[in-house]
Amino acid sequence: MSDPTVTGGPTGIGEPADRWGSSVSAAVPEAGIPATEPPPPDQGSIGATFVQRGDRIFRFLATGSGVFIVALIGAIGLFLLIQAVPPLLQNHANFLTSRQFEAGDPNNLSFGILDLLLVTVEVSVFALVLAMPLGLGIALFLTQYAPARVARPFGYLVDLLAAVPSIIFGLWGLFVLAPAIQPFAVWLETHLGWFFLFSPGNVGIAGATVFTAGIVLAVMILPIITAISREVFARTPRAHIEAALALGATKWEVVRMTVWPFGRAGYVSASMLGLGRALGETIALTIILAATPRIFTGSLFDGGATFASKIALSFAELNNNLSAGAFIAAGLVLFVLTFLVNAAARWVINRSGAKA
């Protein structure tokens, strides 16, 4: 079918690439070639074995890299699982419901993830609650309100937040931000202490709490949320915006009636990607959150440890596979958690058609 002589001389030597192959043949419909997508690679020209070998090797390398990536994710899950099973079998506590994580002694493993899970979820959700409205405002400001001339440099400033290493955010959070917001935290604790979120915490160190950590985390996920939301909002069809303007809508009404409905799904998935990042953030939380032997009460003024910070705190000293495996089991839960959140985010984004 894709005989080179039919398609016209030398064009047929290299195989037409898949994506425009159809359009090329569509341009010469009188030749009667059906728009076959990728012609079989072996039907190139005669006597060009060297060319074909190069092509085949290159194709193999490229496809192999693609397969490698797919296999890699599987391998991450698999190897973490392999390492996590032996300690789980010797675990004296219930892995899912125990609130203590004692894995230092390989002969007496007793670890459970409930507290880690609760702290991880609370700090991430708190960060998300702070960052979502802010991110929305920034994305709308940069795409709809800021003059075109300054929108780019302004956007770059927000992106710079993503370039700051998280360890520096952690240090800033503990040494600078925490003392600065301490009066506000105390005020919340004294006036709203009856509500479980603001009840007195379980650590003595002022500021080394979920509250501080959540604020720092919000700053860290802000650039993720804004970057993707911005991209989606900027894609609002010009015609929609102009139609709304022609009907006499104010700027805010334009945003509410055209930009927001169009970009909502993208914004939601951007926020979920931010959540995924927050769940796995390690060093900033390791620095900020104070370790405590007491259980987590659900208050924002508690200390504690997330999955990632617990692993980071204890892992460097480990020298036996069983103890390490216990932490790897916690890491596996974190991996599954972030996998689910990220997959859901991508699903939303793909379904809405706005690719980011």
């Binding site: 030398p10 490229a62 496809t63 973490l80 405002g137 240090l171 104010t250 805010w252 390690t282 991996f335």
Partner: protein, 303 residues
Amino acid sequence: MSTSVDLDKSAVEPTFVGISGGRRARNALATGLMTLAFLIALVPLVWVVWTVVSKGLAPVLTGHWWSESLNGLLARQQGGGAYHAIVGTLLQGLVCAVLATPIGIMVAIYLVEYGAGTRLARATTFMVDILTGVPSIVAALFVYAVWISIFGLPRSAFAVSLALVLLMVPVVVRSTEEMLRIVPDDLREAAYALGVPKWKTIVKVVIPTALSGMLTGIVLALARVMGETAPVLILVAYAPFINFDIFQGNMASLPLLMTVERSNPTDAGADRLWGAAITLILIITLFQLLAAFLSKVTAPKTK
């Protein structure tokens, strides 16, 4: 009776009516809130940079900061520098880049040139997205599980580089893919018309056209992973001396130096901590500038 009133009124409703006060107020409120949101985001940025500069500038201005290690110095002893950590960060980053760049580029080539629309390509794109979201600590644990638990190899800087590869590859794929996609199909078709095989078209036509953007993406990705702390925390131990051997022994890096000096309550510790912070930011900034420079120098000179 009401005819006089009718005469005063225009026959048709006016085309433009003033915007009611309520709508006007809501519009102003929304504008204000959004501007405010942007300004709020600038607060932590300025605050963090100010903190780091004000606390870390003094130690890095001494000459020995850039040329000496902390070997043999006590925790409270002033002096010494971060040379060992700078070397470690750059070495680990370099090894990571050498490994991650070809993989990332090949995956992007597969996605754009070979796989488009196939099932495997969709799976790959999805997995790249997932890999983007894999927490750095999970990447480190994976390398630990394979490299140290199963292969029984010692902790080393190379293991750190492997973990960084996992974090860098998806970023390289994303940026390269985007750059390859904007290469006009006319260029590819012109090459095919001249009888150039596909792989040569990619290597000699497509990649050089996209090179500028690809390099920028790679350097930016590298800048991003060099600040990662979780892998160094798990996969290599700190050393206060200079170590060039990535396969053996302890090796410092700037994030690791910071985590170690964090528990040092002396003035010397604070100096090292914030000095390392500003050094890390400087290196990342330098790489970002390098990216901008590269994209200018290597831009296709067609016009």
